[in-house]
Symmetry: C2
DNA sequence: CATGGGATGTGGGACGTCCAATGTCCGGCC
DNA sequence: GGCCGGACATTGGACGTCCCACATCCCATG
């Protein structure tokens, strides 16, 4: 009879109550990404709720990318990160790699459909779109290919920068999330059989097709790119007996 | 000096440790979606860790769709739900509705690019694909349009069932997630100015274009569909002064 | 005037305890 | 003998409190 005293009938869990409360605080106060949120103690007082419940709720909101918690500093409104999506997809993909089903393949198919459509959108908007950044990244990729491997960062950057002129930041984030999932499962796949030169050539083909507004070539280039990805996926043999590293 | 006795240097937080541990348990034991997980107490013992940390970690995993917690019953390996993604997108979209930026518009653009590409994939694979289900849903939609409104469920079902023959479950889930976000923000938007008959007609056009493998018509039909969505979005005026309902 | 070491405040971690929801099983009642 | 209901065990939910780790800022010290 200590706590839980006068509380009227509750339907949902405390955690969810707090989550909704925090969301409402953000919306009502018209906070923007990066703005500070009330501290844990303030929330405890305002909502008349225990610390653990507050913490659980905020952890969830953090996992989902709605708040950003910085130890010893405070809590802030989160910027969209899609980190939760990456975790979920990466985990389920890894899980399905063990069985006959292959979720990663489905993910890659979606990436291909998306990128294919986006490339055509770029061509639609040519020549207003500024492809200078993409050109620069392609050059860097080719330079890297000459001296060794193409770094994953450069690869990711290309797919990010190419579609940036479309003015849709969500595109970059979603594609980035998919890319992260794929990258996170690198260790579970075999090595690629493409040479660095191949990688650079394929990406150059995509860029060139956009520049010259050659739609058929764009379709082919994108398909070639993902054929490479798919080939790598198909050849996976390494079992997952060993303990996956915690990150 | 009670608890926290002999613990060696830790790098990451407890919560993350537990999250990784649980993920590893699932992978190592080759559990499948729906399989039971150790109880909270078992995890406490196995990992030598406090209950709150376990609970926080599991809440996060639940939010991300990796585990499924059922009160008074147990914890189970989760099926992919993308619920976390929906929450994140819905929240940030609602937040951006207040400002000048409009994230929801970006989301809809992605949906359009995706669906457009998927429709063309369907045509690629014709006539192997079985569109009977889609035909049925379209018929139902038209029936609903005759007697009143087209129910959101029917709308969602159409976009789900249409692409099902592609054999990529992730497509349905991702599209469903996007659709959920849009649906969840209905209240923040004004009413549509399309009649139920319009809605049915537009969807019928998409279906017909696929059946007849008419690519230009498919492109136009998809565009028409999303023009309607965009129009509704553009006319939003209702402010968000009132407290959004907690769901 | 520059700098390093607290003082302070914030989140992180862990217990222990009690509450509540769910499932099971056994015994009384029909 | 069958069925319904309540006791019991199990499991998650919530709380309060203690202590630790981390970041910041200010003041004392050189």
């Amino acid at each position: 009879m200590f706590h839980d005293a006068h509380r009227p009938r509750r339907r949902l869990t405390r955690s969810i109550e707090v989550q909704e409360a925090v969301k409402n605080i953000i919306l009502q106060r018209r906070l923007a990404a990066g703005d500070p949120l009330p501290t844990e103690s303030e929330l405890m007082d305002e909502l008349g709720i225990g610390r653990n419940s507050v913490r659980e709720a905020l952890k969830v909101l953090q996992a989902v990318g709605i708040v950003d918690i910085r130890h010893g500093f405070g809590m802030f409104v989160g910027r969209m990160s899609l980190a939760g999506l990456v975790d979920e997809l990466a985990f389920h993909s890894r899980m399905s790699l063990q069985g006959e089903r292959n979720q990663l393949g489905h993910l890659i198919e979606i990436r291909e459909v998306l990128e294919s459509g986006l490339v055509h959108r770029l061509i639609d908007q040519r020549p207003e779109v500024n492809l200078a950044e993409a050109a620069q990244v392609i050059a860097q990729m080719e330079a890297e290919a000459l001296v060794g491997e193409v770094s994953p960062e450069t690869d990711r950057l290309f797919h990010d920068v190419l579609y940036r002129p479309l003015g849709n930041p969500l595109v970059g984030q979603l594609l980035g999330a998919f890319w992260d999932v794929y990258q996170q499962l690198q260790d579970d796949l075999g090595a690629s059989d493409e040479t660095p030169a191949d990688v650079a050539r394929i990406h150059r083909a995509i860029y060139a097709a956009v520049v010259s507004a050659d739609r058929p070539a764009a379709t082919i280039a994108i398909r070639a790119h993902f054929d490479g990805v798919r080939a790598r996926l198909a050849r996976r043999v390494r079992s997952l007996e060993d303990i996956p590293r915690p990150t």
